[in-house]
Structures are given as structure tokens and as C-alpha cells.
Subunit: 338 residues, 2 copies
């Protein structure tokens, strides 16, 4: 589809993102926190969560749907709980500010959790938890969003695409991190197919008539389905309960009701759990995980989740990245006051 | 299949189970802890985890593969961690002994975890976590087992069927608990199809040649597959890391290597995480979960996980249960020294 691309360094993407967000109303601290996750996504070749998201962030800022000057407050809620009130701001700054307290609590208590409410999450989840695994922790992350996905057996949207991520440290290597929606496919995948006039595989969604369809435009008017039948539906429900109900954030239905059509992120919740495996009286944790990974990889056809990201990560700091020219021009225009 | 059944009260099932386990070498404390989870499974109509499991428990005891006199030790490992060394015994007593400390820690810290190593788990997971939700906690449970399941994209067994469970309290009602394998189907389902000469649906497993098959006997010689493709494979891997690597228990491959063919449970690990939602400064947790459940159930065709168990639970204390006569006779023979 993309006929013309613009070549940039990762640092240029960072600066452009900061400029566009600040021109849309974010202060420098919020803009840089978002730009860091955009930079990481571009570095790892996750284009759907890179600069591609910047116009949406800017739209939400311009519509005053999110607070670009939010100063998230860290609340020492309990010995094992850090809570952040994100003040209706974008999630990256809330996560950046809350993470050190989560790490400290997990290392002193053995397990701790970070709950973020009143934030708008529009990023990949792996950048939230990879720094926790870098600090030696095993981490899980649960995020809800606007209601797009039916419960197992249902025809009406009740859950967000409700992603979860899981991170594990590795000796001398970047952590293994998986990050996956609880829906059968990313919403962006269905939107791209609709734009390009393709059908999508069976099982991704139902049309507005409640019938299975491979027409992406019909699914966008109907509902997406959870992955893996009723088991994936149970995971989607678990993510909703942990991310929204436990933290006190908006549920996906509440986020949908409050959404004003700006095209950016809606209010949602975020629950991170971090465990210090060194506190279990077992000093062979890292070695045992590596042995298990080796057993998996001895089987031809098996890859570790996230391994393509790590390949890209080695190349892009040297090679730079290529961005669709129309997208690039759009973000430049936002930065320049367009 | 079952032509003749024996009708019993739930208490008779409990007593029969205790008798068979003690005749096989368990002491009373271990036998009663196992009989409690068998009793709960029969009460809730989970026949695959009821008295059906007793011969396997007894085989493992007679083969000295598990220690029927295990006295699990509770270790106060960290402010947020309870660890139980199950002394190579059956998991129910270890769980029963460790649970009060987990509840106390979760309520004081906001979040806590219980890790059990050196135990043999052969039961459903929901009886482990339902008491935590009864105490007002949100709980997750992860258990690994013998290697039966390939990683996503693979053809060799590296994971157990690796179930996970999730429990949430409800006001004035039993908790919502789901309990699901990370494999596309329970192993027992494939074994029953093989016994009865049926085929199984596509996607459950591969034959010894690494090719997809609907022949259950071929899958039992080959490998099972994770549910939901690579996303379910990621869940299976997460369960393995949490249940085995974090706790220091045997991985599913180690459990498989140590298995002596007795037909009972193998050594595995168990990690439970419990969160006190009342500690998040949000007193509407229960109400918000109920609102979400109502939204789900407003959609015709949606059921809450576990709701069939709760229907059975209302009936069986009065109606009693029906057990396959051959199975019943087998357990009676074990109890009577057969």
C-alpha cells in the first residue's frame, strides 16, 4: 500500500513525536513519556504502535479528551499496592512515575501490584513491563479499553480488546515479553483490511446482524470475538476485572459511553503485577527458564514470543526506520500547527 | 456408556474416598484433604475431578510416587510470599495448610502469593481459589503437570495441560470461578474418545508423525496442542514459568521424566496470587463487577463460567450423586484392600 516512505533516525521520530504532542497541548513531561514508548515501538518494528498512533494521541489532546498537563500522583496504598491517579492523562507518564515504587515494593515484599486509573492507554503493553523484567522481576500487565469485543457466546460488545502482557528476565539477553490482545485479532488489523478492501479470516467477528462474517467493515459495525473461544473469553473477562474493576478505572463499556469520537485513546485501567523470583528461596530461576526455552526452541517451528522485535531492535538504531510519507507528513503538519 | 450407576450421598463419597486413600497408604490428614476436593467436585457435578480421580491417587500412593504421610511445611518467605514445601505429598493438604497464611498476607499487604513445590496436583483448580474469593479476595491459580502439550508451532510435548483458574467474590452469591486448561482440550476428553472409539474435533493434537489428526489414540501417542493458537501457547508458557520456575517445582518435562507410569499425579508446581480489592481505595469493586456481569448476561447466549457447577451445587446435597458402578466397585475394592 505504502508507495512513498520517509527515512528517519529513531531520535528524529522521538523529536517529531514530542513536537506534535506539544503542539496538540501536551506539556513536555507528558509528551516525552509518550514519545519514549513510540520510540521503543519504532525501534522494535511494532509499526502499529509507533508513530502511527501519534495522530490519535494528538486528536484526543486537541479534543480535551485527555489532559496533556496531567501530573500523575503516586499513592502508597498498601505495603504491596502502588496506585496512580493519572488525572485523566496519557498512560505512559503515569506508568513511568509509578514504576520505581512498584519495583521497590516487589523487591521488598516479594510481590506487588500497580493500579492505574483515570488514564488513557493507546500504546503497546510490552514497554510497560520490559523494564520490570530488566530489574529482575516477573511481570504481568492487564489493560482494558473501549468496548469492541463480545463475551464468549455473545453478540454485543462488552470488553475492550483487553490485552495482557507477561515479561520474564533472561541472563545476558533482553527479557522475553509477550503482549497479546484477548480478541481474536487486533482492531487495527480489521481496520486495515476494511481500508484496503480485503476480507478477514473467519472467527474474528460478527456483523451488526450478529452473524459471523469475513467482511471487515461489517465487523467494525458489529463486534469482534475473543480469541480461542470460551477460554479466550474468560481471559478477556479476567483482564476487564483486573484492569478496570480492581483499580477503580472505567470499564470498557463506561469508556465507550464516555468516548467523544476523537479517534484517540479512551479512559481505561491498567493493573501490573510484579513478582521477585529471587525471593522464593530458589536461586536457579533464570537457569530453569532458559532450560525450558531451550526445550521449546529445540522443536523446529517454535519461536519465542517477541523474538522478531529483538531482531529489529538490533538493526534500527543503525538503519533507521521508514515511515509512510502520508503519515509522516500528517505528523509534521500537526507539529507545525496544522 | 455407563449402564449401571450407584447412588450415594456426598458424605458417603467423602468417606469412601478417605477409606480408599488410607488403605493405599495416606494418613488421615492427607486423605481428608484430598477427599474434601473430591467431595466438592462431586457436589458441583465435575465428575472428571471427583471419585473418578481416586484410583489414580491410590495408584500413586501404592507406587510410593507420592508421600501419603507428607506434613507440608509453611515457610514465611517474604512479607508477600508464603511458600509450602509439600514434601512430595498430594497438593490438597499443602494448599489447605498454606491458604490461611496467604489470606492473611493478602489482607495485610494488598497482594500476596503462595508457591507450592514438591507436590502432586491431580484435582480441579477452582476448589483451591474459591475459598480465597469467599474471603473477599480476587485470586489466580497456575499449575503445571506432566509434558503433554506442544508449544505453539511445535510438535513435541514441553508443557503440561497447564490449567489456570481465576476467582472473584460476588455479594450474596458464590464466587465466579473459571478453571481452564491451556491445552485445546482436557486430556481426559481425548482418553474417553479413544476408549469409546470416537474421533475428536480438529485442532486438539498431532499424531506421533507430527501431523494434525482427529484420531484420539494417535494424539495420546503424539502431542496435544494449546488452545487458541499462539496466544494460548503463550498462556501455557506463562503458566509453566509461574507454576514451576518461580516456585522451584519440577517443570512439566522434569515431571514427565520422573513419572513411573503409576497412572496418578506427577510432581508439579502451583502458584496462587491473591489480591485484596478493598485495599485499592475503591469501595465499589463488588458493585462494578456485578454491573459488568449483568452487561454480559444481557446478551442471550452468554453464560458466566462455572454456572453449571453452581446449579449442581444446589441439587446434589439433597439428590445425592450417581457414580458409574464399575468405578464405584473399584474404589470400594481399594478401600477393602483389593
Amino acid at each position: 500500500m505504502t508507495q512513498f516512505t520517509v527515512h528517519s533516525t529513531l531520535d528524529a521520530i522521538f523529536d517529531l513525536t514530542v513536537g506534535a504532542l506539544m503542539a496538540s497541548g501536551a506539556n513536555r513531561e507528558n509528551a516525552e513519556a509518550v514519545a519514549e514508548v513510540v520510540w521503543k515501538a519504532e525501534r522494535d518494528g511494532c509499526l502499529s504502535h509507533g508513530i502511527f498512533r501519534v495522530p490519535g494521541y494528538c486528536d484526543a489532546l486537541k479534543a480535551n479528551a485527555v489532559n496533556g498537563s496531567a501530573a500523575p500522583k503516586v499513592i502508597d496504598q498498601a505495603p504491596g499496592i502502588v496506585r496512580v491517579d493519572a488525572e485523566n492523562g496519557l498512560a505512559p507518564l503515569a506508568m513511568k512515575i509509578g514504576r520505581p515504587a512498584l519495583i521497590e515494593k516487589a523487591k521488598s515484599q516479594g510481590i506487588a501490584t500497580l493500579g492505574i486509573a483515570n488514564s488513557a492507554h493507546f500504546a503497546a503493553l510490552w514497554p510497560d513491563v520490559e523494564p520490570l523484567a530488566d530489574a529482575g522481576l516477573v511481570a504481568m500487565n492487564f489493560v482494558n479499553s473501549r468496548a469492541f469485543v463480545a463475551a464468549a457466546g455473545g453478540k454485543r460488545a462488552v470488553f475492550g480488546t483487553n490485552p495482557m502482557a507477561f515479561a520474564v528476565p533472561r541472563p545476558g539477553k533482553p527479557p522475553m515479553v509477550f503482549d497479546q490482545a484477548s480478541s481474536a485479532s487486533a482492531r487495527g488489523e480489521i481496520m486495515l483490511a476494511a481500508r484496503d478492501g480485503h476480507t478477514v479470516p473467519e472467527g474474528l467477528g460478527l456483523g451488526p446482524d450478529g452473524q459471523p462474517t469475513t467482511d471487515p467493515a461489517a465487523i467494525l459495525k458489529g463486534v469482534q470475538l475473543p480469541f480461542g473461544g470460551y477460554k479466550g473469553g474468560a481471559i478477556a473477562m479476567m483482564v476487564e476485572i483486573l484492569a478496570a474493576c480492581v483499580t477503580g478505572a472505567d470499564t470498557s463499556l463506561e469508556g465507550e459511553a464516555a468516548y467523544t469520537g476523537h479517534g484517540g485513546p479512551s479512559a481505561a485501567g491498567n493493573l501490573v503485577i510484579a513478582i521477585d523470583p529471587s525471593k522464593f528461596g530458589n536461586d536457579r530461576f533464570l537457569e530453569r527458564v532458559e532450560t525450558m526455552f531451550e526445550s521449546m526452541l529445540a522443536d523446529e517451528g517454535v519461536r519465542l514470543p517477541g523474538d522478531r522485535r529483538l531482531v529489529n531492535r538490533k538493526q534500527t538504531p543503525e538503519s533507521g526506520v521508514h515511515t509512510d510519507k502520508a503519515l509522516y507528513d500528517k505528523v509534521v503538519a500537526i507539529r507545525d500547527g496544522g
